[in-house]
Amino acid sequence: MQTNEKHIKEPLFHITKRTDISTLKAWIIRLIAILAALIVSGLVIVVITSYNPIEVYAKMIEGSFGSDRKFFILLQNTAMLLCVSLAVTPAFKMKFWNLGAEGQVLVGGLASAACMFYAKDSLPSWLLIIIMLITSVLSGIIWGVLPAVFKAIWRTNESLFTLMMNYVAIQLVAFFIMVWVPNGSSVMGVINQRSEAGWLPELFGQKYAINIIVVAVLTVIMFVYLHFSKQGYEISVVGESENTARYVGINVKKVIIRTMVISGAICGIAGFLLVSGTNHTVSKELAGGMGFTAIMVSWLAKFEPVMMIFTSMFIIFLQRGAGEIAMTLRLNESVSDIITGIIIFFIIGSEFFINYKINKRASHKEAK
């Protein structure tokens, strides 16, 4: 230790904001984070189960890609998660924390189920499907726009408001199931089992083909909307700085409400697809936590609709894979939540190294 350095206390590291980082370098950092996450989750698996982690990962791949059927389920689940992620993205870009996608999907699904339940086969199926789509979208919009209006006018905290709306939606679904199911059971069976009224038809012999196509189209539309439309540009200005937006003459209130209408509408579509295309029934678990997972998907993809295809598939891959592990290695299914958690911690942690630079304290000799 040199004496002249004694009085100057300099921290070991100091952190500065990076202004320019090449996309390639950013993705290398993210890849390193994912690798580190897989190693850590592997260690966790070994410690708690003493299984070979490579065997576990191999099983996960088999669970998603092992057969045509498994692969199609992977695609269908990815499509639905992607749909919800697309819904939350414009709001997030605007820094409106919509934690209520779960509820917006649920009311959308509930509206579709209600149409199917009350119309039975009294209408031609194509007409019923159109009515279902419209009511679902409207319900999603109502659920999404309510917090937006309060946010725009009174600055009511939107993350807490939307969070609570989820549970109102869940109870609403529980209420209607109780009304519809005569024997007091809380499980709603498949609606219109015999007539298949209001069911989306099979395409190319695949049950979920329409879901996947609809979501693919939505992805393209959202990409164009966010990048090449005036409204998309307004969203990013409001997200960067509300004051700037106001200064250049953007009506911030209008943008907030309009964006949440879009967000709620897409959630409504997701609810419609889940009921009409996938499940043909409604339950409290219809959205199955997708509203929350979608937030991570969207954030991991940096709000880029095309990147979200990969991030949503990655998350679904983890979940499907963990289901496979649970079955074959007789582990508990929740292992997927643990692995998902670890991987997300690493990826969001890696953002720090993309956004900031760590400067090590210069050594003493150089300092002189």
Partner: protein, 327 residues
């Protein structure tokens, strides 16, 4: 009739305790400007860590000692919650990543750990069936010895294990800490405006870390109370349900005041089970009654934002990371 009312009050208080732990923990955290949406996960973690500690102890000895039966789960629960709260603190305070995303990931992670160990702990020890720590549960449930001599009053208000009283004591102490101590004032300053607090010489990082960690530990005790006292040492996957989110709702309802949180928790605990105690209620209307806590929370949120009274607002920097160089 009167018995039903007292039974209802008793049940409401029992439901209120985990909520109160969670709400107090979240208030402590939020006062530093950290919106920890990982609280539901931390509460699961607090519960399962307590179960694991208690199970290993009960498993290793044939004559469990009452004091250790309480201390071991208590300590392991706190350690578990601290671990998760530390992950959240490190990511949001040191690495400054988004609080909402981190919190939601933490909830997924915590519930995953809870259900994973809850579902497979016994198989690790080569046993089958479901976890049931009768001895440990008994120790946690032990109430004041004279409670039963006080008739219906004792039965309604004093028949709880020690954690119930601890919840109320912690809430009161937290309130005193916020309003009567310098450190509490500093903490509130950090939550309102970290840049100003920093300029005044307050160590923002230290305050944020400590409050998030302590808040997490307190919230985790709610999970411990649930698995030890409420269910008597048994674990069911997802048994804790959505109580963690309800705890966050109470934080809003109590407008970030721990003492108000005590009464709010009793109210929410009551609303949580109200549908069971209303006679001749159809099962569908029960579900509507169960919607009440959330609707009430939304109304409170809207009203406080409309009235704009300064002392009723959330901490001003809630949800934002602080980076000194970015002012």
């Amino acid at each position: 009739m009167i018995n039903t009312i007292f039974a209802f009050i008793n049940a409401a208080i029992i439901q209120a305790i985990p909520l109160l732990f969670g709400a107090t923990g979240e208030i402590i955290t939020e006062k530093s400007g950290n919106l920890n949406l990982g609280i539901p996960g931390i509460m699961y973690m607090g519960g399962i860590s307590g179960i694991i500690g208690g199970y290993i102890y009960e498993h290793s000895t044939s004559s469990p000692n009452a004091l250790l039966c309480v201390m071991i789960p208590l300590l392991s629960s706190i350690l578990g919650s601290l671990l998760l709260a530390f992950i959240y603190s490190f990511l949001t305070i040191t690495l400054r990543v988004n609080q909402n995303v981190t919190g939601l990931a933490l909830t997924t992670f915590g519930i995953g750990i809870g259900n994973f160990f809850g579902g497979s702990l016994l198989s690790f020890f080569g046993e089958t069936g479901s976890i049931s720590l009768i001895e440990t549960g008994k120790c946690f449930k032990a109430s004041l010895p004279f409670a039963h001599k006080l008739g219906i009053f004792g039965k309604t208000f004093l028949s709880f294990g020690f954690l119930a009283y601890l919840a109320i004591i912690i809430a009161i102490l937290t309130s005193i800490f916020f309003n009567r101590t310098r450190a509490g004032l500093n903490l509130r300053a950090v939550g309102e405006n970290p840049a100003t607090a920093d300029a005044a010489g307050i160590n923002v990082t230290k305050y944020k870390y400590l409050s998030t960690l302590i808040g997490g530990a307190v919230a985790g005790l709610g999970g411990l109370y649930f698995v030890m006292d409420y269910t008597g040492g048994a674990w069911t996957n997802n048994g804790f349900g959505d109580r963690g989110w309800l705890a966050i709702a109470i934080v809003i309802f109590a407008i970030w005041r721990p003492t108000t949180a005590i009464f709010s928790s009793f109210l929410f605990g009551g609303l949580y089970i109200l549908s069971i105690y209303i006679p001749r209620l159809s099962s569908s209307n029960k579900e509507l009654i169960n919607m009440l806590p959330y609707v009430v929370t939304i109304l409170v949120l809207v009203i406080i934002s409309m009235r704009k009274k300064r002392e009723n607002q959330p901490p001003a920097s809630l949800g934002l990371s602080y980076f000194r160089e970015e002012r």
